[in-house]
Symmetry: C2
């Protein structure tokens, strides 16, 4: 929509910024704990980083941490499925690789939880829930009745499973690379979000087999390693911050997502869906 010349003009036009009500203050950026950061490195030299959600799927996240500490993903794993407008999925494509002690498929479903604990909400009702909004610790939420859950937005990470009642172990994970497949909400455990490098998953060639699985093993993108930031040397440890949501600046940020402004926009929508207003997460500056 924006033309090349206009983009160049916008990039050059950096007037002294006027503070906006939605501008965060320094204290609005809160450190993500190191043991919530999981770094995947691919053999092609790229990689991607997750923020895990232990508060929402504790048993699955415990499995994922145990698998990372056992270096389970460091051998014979890959991104083996890329389905257009849907998901990129990784792990052991053969499903024959043994898991590690203490990690099993038989854990409880963690599809939603009692609540609600949203501290900020969107103006319009969500098509898949009674409300959508934000947790105090920077997660998108949807909820109905006394239950709440992490919605299947672009970049959110879920646990691959077989037919119900299987809930999956956490060894096979996927992330959304298209329009939010919200019908999966409350049917699959959501365990985190890709906070860096999703473009290396979303731009992979699409698989031509059933459901986007690669037709041949050679098409897969091998995984080299997966490490919790807390297990990396301090000097190479990546740091991320989420934006605090319980303050008037974030409330103004929501309003800005719901009503875009001139000069580019002339008709404000008066609303937004949660996957079009994902709370900001960034690499810690400096």
């Amino acid at each position: 929509m924006i033309t090349a010349l206009l983009a160049a003009a916008l990039a050059q036009a950096t007037p002294v910024p006027t503070p906006l009500p939605s501008d965060p203050v320094a204290a609005d950026w809160v450190a993500v704990p190191d043991d919530e950061i999981l770094v995947f490195t691919l053999a092609n030299g790229h990689g991607f980083t997750l923020r895990l959600a232990p508060g929402y799927a504790p048993a699955h996240v415990a499995n994922i941490r145990a698998l990372a500490r056992a270096r389970w993903w460091d051998t014979a794993t890959s991104v083996y499925r890329v389905q257009d407008n849907y998901v990129a999925q990784w792990g052991d494509a053969t499903e024959k690789k043994p898991l590690v002690p203490g990690v099993a498929d038989g854990i409880a479903a963690e599809y939603d939880m009692a609540g609600p604990t949203a501290v900020a909400r969107l103006a319009k009702r969500d098509p898949y829930a009674e409300w959508a909004g934000y947790s105090a610790d920077g997660w998108p939420l949807a909820g109905s009745g006394t239950r709440q859950w992490l919605p299947h937005c672009y970049s959110m990470v879920g646990v691959a499973r077989d037919l119900a009642p299987s809930v999956g172990s956490g060894a096979e994970l996927y992330t959304v690379i298209g329009h939010a497949p919200r019908a999966l909400d409350r049917n699959i455990a959501v365990v985190g979000r890709v906070v860096d490098g999703i473009e290396w998953l979303s731009s992979l060639p699409r698989g031509t087999g059933d459901l986007g699985f690669y037709a041949t093993p050679a098409e897969r993108s091998p995984i080299v390693s997966a490490r919790l930031a807390s297990d990396l040397p301090a000097a190479t440890r990546p740091h991320f911050q989420y934006r605090a949501t319980r303050n008037p600046r974030f409330t103004a940020w929501i309003a800005g997502r719901e009503n875009r402004t001139p000069p580019f926009f002339t008709v404000p929508a008066g609303g937004a869906d949660i996957c079009n207003a994902l709370p900001p997460v960034r690499r810690t500056p400096g």
Copy 2:
């Protein structure tokens, strides 16, 4: 979410199908007119095909047809912008190439139109409109008051423009390759939908310049040609069909999108957003 072994099992399991209320009958598949089909071929050997929407953006579609007939896209054009979770955009990256006689940037805005003419609607209210549903001729729609418009869903095609009140000519086009940026609705002219080959746009490397523009010309994907199907020899002319929407089978199809069923799904959502329930379009079989 679906594991590799399960996918293989699903692919092998082809029992005699029981007819469903949502199964289309032969007459439900309606031919898309040949002059609504526009075939782009890329220098990399791949390509993508649009269905144009003359009923919704007649002036822009007239421009696009004139540009195709003048072979405007056949020289010095490319896919020059790919922004993750947003758009892939193509045309003349320099914006210096003259248009053709009769094609100009000064046409009227075609952002919405009087209506509504939806013949089927989704159960839940749309976060960006009073309702969402389907036209008789196979387009997704959103509407409020007396107005309706084509929503910015994955694969929908819009007309790039500069800051308002610019409306663009149609020479520079984009398609959505991520979560639906519905805030663009009624701010940009939507002129069609990619009905084939979007994976060749959505899997292109992301641009590292501002707004996803490629940083260097060498990164662009050159366009070889753009042809209306009606201008191609009959023997090589591609044919597409949309699914009719004003019948009980399509009503059942909508209900199925809004409430997914076991054995994979155990909690139906009770609703869907229009971009998660795009009406089917297919290449004509045989």
